[in-house]
């Protein structure tokens, strides 16, 4: 997280490249929000790097007037890790899709999160492969009929938030492409978090999977379906807060009328040491078609992989003195021929 002395605007983060997503794509809104956010928080363009994989969403770096790397399918976290280890002075953002990040790239995502590398990961989840024109993805609901699944998909979808919590990610959030205010808030949290932050963003692909998030976006449904997690607040929702989340005796969570909940309503605390509660919350919605928690699920401080790696290098120098090449070669059994 860098800070800026100059006062910049969204324009300073906007490159001169023409944006080439389909008209109406949710990616536009996310782009605009990120550009504004960076200006707002005082990020420094030259210290900011966007790294992406392959997919529609992964075209993101071209549109940012920062450093960027449009890498290969699923591998953005690997480049980011190499860069994060060697360049502590940079703010590194990863942009990935549900296919890029969860299908081909699932392993790197998981290991990056468990290592707690200092990067911000934005997963644009449109529940579809956009760039390759509409195959189902690991987040597509069971039974989705798309190009490769004319009779319906059979793979039980991944819940990206559950997955991230399963590997103990230190910052886990979820937001919605078009909810600029909410998205800004969650992304600001991610930006301020040292270590890996993971944010799932529901993103509409109006060409191949239009309306996948209608339950959370339609004006007449969203109040019923958005469970907005707010640190320190009891978790209630509905137009008049009439529904509440409570913990059962076996540790699972359920939704009950607020009036029946009494003091069983769970008070949200993203800083809880263990990911258990956050995990339970993530289980409330298997697909975003009914009441679905959004916001920051978890935000805890843990040692950061790359910080510690550099600390070891420093410690080694301290303990053994800066390496000296002649001494290195001379070490071990040497003999002289005269």
């Amino acid at each position: 997280m860098t800070t800026n002395e100059r006062t910049l605007t969204k324009r300073d983060f906007t490159s001169d490249r023409e944006v080439r997503w389909c008209p109406g794509c949710g990616d536009y809104a996310i782009l605009a929000t990120v550009q504004s956010l960076l200006a707002e928080v005082g990020a420094v363009p030259e210290k900011t790097v966007f790294i992406s994989g392959i997919g529609c969403s992964s075209r993101f770096p071209y549109y940012m007037d920062t450093y960027g790397f449009h890498s290969i399918h699923g591998r953005a976290p690997t480049l980011a890790t190499g860069l994060a280890i060697t360049r502590p002075d940079l703010d590194i953002w990863i942009v990935t899709g549900d296919g890029d990040g969860l299908s081909i790239g699932g392993n790197h995502l998981m290991h990056t999160l468990r290592r707690n590398v200092n990067v911000n990961i934005l997963l644009f989840n449109n529940e579809i492969y956009g760039l390759t024109k509409g195959q189902y993805s690991p987040t597509s609901p069971l039974g989705s009929t798309h190009k490769s699944t004319p009779m319906g998909s059979l793979d039980r979808p991944i819940n990206p938030v559950s997955l991230a919590l399963g590997v103990e990610a230190t910052f886990v959030g979820r937001s919605i492409d078009t909810d600029r205010k909410h998205l800004t808030e969650v992304l600001k949290g991610a930006y301020e978090h040292r270590g890996s932050s993971f944010v799932e963003i529901y993103q509409n692909c109006n060409i191949f999977n239009d309306g996948a998030f209608a339950a959370l976006k339609d004006p007449d449904k969203k109040d019923l379906n958005q469970i907005r997690l707010q640190a320190g607040e009891p978790i209630t929702f509905g137009p008049d807060g009439e529904r509440a989340v409570v913990a059962e005796s076996d540790g699972s969570m359920s939704i009950v009328p607020t009036e029946e909940a009494g003091d069983r309503v769970v008070v949200h605390d993203p800083a809880r040491d263990e990911p258990t509660t956050a995990f339970a919350l993530s289980r409330l919605a298997l697909n975003p078609t009914g009441p679905t928690p959004i916001g920051i699920f978890r935000d805890v401080d843990r040692p950061v992989y790359d910080d510690q790696l550099r600390a070891q290098v420093d410690a080694a120098k301290q303990q053994r003195g800066e390496g000296e090449l002649t001494a290195l070669l001379d070490s071990g059994n040497v003999w002289d021929v005269l």
């Binding site: 490159s15 490249r17 363009p45 030259e46 210290k47 790097v49 790294i51 392959i54 770096p61 071209y62 940012m64 007037d65 920062t66 450093y67 960027g68 790397f69 449009h70 890498s71 290969i72 591998r75 976290p77 690997t78 480049l79 980011a80 890790t81 190499g82 860069l83 994060a84 280890i85 060697t86 360049r87 002075d89 940079l90 392993n107 790197h108 290991h111 790696l309 550099r310 070891q312 290098v313 410690a315 080694a316 120098k317 303990q319 053994r320 003195g321 800066e322 390496g323 090449l325 002649t326 290195l328 070669l329 001379d330 071990g332 059994n333 040497v334 003999w335 002289d336 021929v337 005269l338």
Partner: protein, 630 residues
Amino acid sequence: MSDTSTAQRERIQLSNAVVRFAGDSGDGMQLTGDRFTTQTALAGNDLATLPDFPAEIRAPAGTLAGVSSFQLHFSDQDIHTPGDAPDVLVAMNPAALHKHLSALKPGGIVIVNTDAFTERNLQKAGYEESPLEDNTLTDYQLHEVPITELTLRALEGHIERGELNKKEAERCKNMLALGLVSWMYHRPIDETEGWLEDKFAAKPAIADANVTALRAGWNYGDTTEAFAFTYEVKAAKLAPGRYRNITGNQAMAYGLVAASVRSALPLFYGSYPITPASDILHELAKLKHFGVATYQAEDEIAAMGSVIGAAFGGSLAVTASSGPGIALKTEAMGLATITELPMLVIDVQRGGPSTGLPTKTEQSDLFQVLYGRNGEAPIPVLAAASPADCFHISLEAARIALTYRTPVVVLSDGYLANSAEPWMLPDIDELPDLTTAFSFTTEPNRADGSFVPFLRDEDTLARPWALPGTPGLEHRLGGIEKEEETGHISYDPANHHAMTEMRYARLERIGAQLPPLEVEDPDGDAEVLVIGWGSTLGPIQAACHQLRQRGRKVARVHLRHLAPLHPDLEEVLGRYRTVVCPENNMGQLAMLLRARTLVDVKSYDRVTGQPFAATELAAVIERYGWGEQA
């Protein structure tokens, strides 16, 4: 221990000797060999070693599969190979004897540990009868030594005093064998004594037991009359300087550190363990005080990605693997190619295909590193020719990567990785200065004050290396074809063709800027040329030496650069009546040369997981060069 005690025995002067230690994986043969090597190096010989061990961590004790061996060739001359047939075989059990006897020179010396020749062990080794009792060994000089028994006897006191138990005592038997062989060859053992005391500093009883066994071995030779002769190999006339033994993997690690020091770039090493490359990681992980960052990734793809990221950030970025891991890196290597970032990819080759022969050597990844990428994605490829050359090749690879802004592949192999040779330490200040190979771009590079990341240096065709963090030079890299100069995404047909040609042109530029190709043709009148690359240097040199001693006019050239091929090659190959190319693969370089020069290069191929023998190659070259009659 002074050498005078052996005075009463006849001392035979030899120019060189080959000793092979063989035993069960649990018998510590690699360590024994290492120690004998160090003693020998300190005695001033030139030497070469060949360790050979099973793929299993601990294959079942006593079986053929469990045999581990270590061969050392030492000489008063310059030598090039670990030797073809051993003069002496130390066999710690029947399986070791069974597996290695056929390699021994006719009439050679066999030292066996008779205590291990039990019914059970004989059976495990596939002997129906004891070879000590039938005619198996009649043509050799057999020394039956109860090595285990002697060890236990030497350590009786230790056991009685409760300093170690019987099993621990038995484990010292390799030191007894080492003591005996050291006595035979007049190798001083005090260095090993000191080493044992260091190694077991925390367990002085163990140190003492090992030293006791070592001395007991020496004394056994000295005292019993079983050994009529001792042998002496005088110090070699090596060039004056300071020497050490070094394995290829260690040399590679040190070379990378040297490249980091000489380029003033921090070294980033991202890798995933795999035999026989892992030791480079282990070595570098110990060198953090050089500012080295080592990263064990979740797999080879991640390792390759991390290296691209670190190169983007301005590190000297390096990864290494062996064949199967390189296969996984190929997609990302394509990305490295098209983004034109400097980095090194080291392939320590092993036997393939697939998992293949993980602990054996082979040169069969040449095509993989040249061509194993989608699309036209040329990458420079270099190969180390000897263990110590791994040091120098790292520097050369870094020079090319940094000068031309390109990934570079370095080929090593299982043989180079694990075997050692004496190496004259270079003068640090005479190593190539890599700071002149590059500079980071910090200013706009166009007249209009803008920056474009693909504007090239006219001489090298290198593009700018502008690091994140540099104000005003913000730009985006990626795997889609780029517009010339600007580096913007471009689907333009002509641009793609031009960029593809540029990537080849840059490769050729590297070749054109190399010093002339050195051909070894002592009298300048050779008719036959032997061309090789990589770890076959030693056997080829030795074979040529043998042939020249027989009066054959043979020339030799050894390629360090496999891509680009040296521009002199056409001319050089054209000069000779016959060109022979021996490789530990099925003829990969030979094919490149044939296509390039249309010379009918004769390929000699063997993939057995073992390096060539010098005599084998001498016979092959003779046959191709002067016909069957020879």
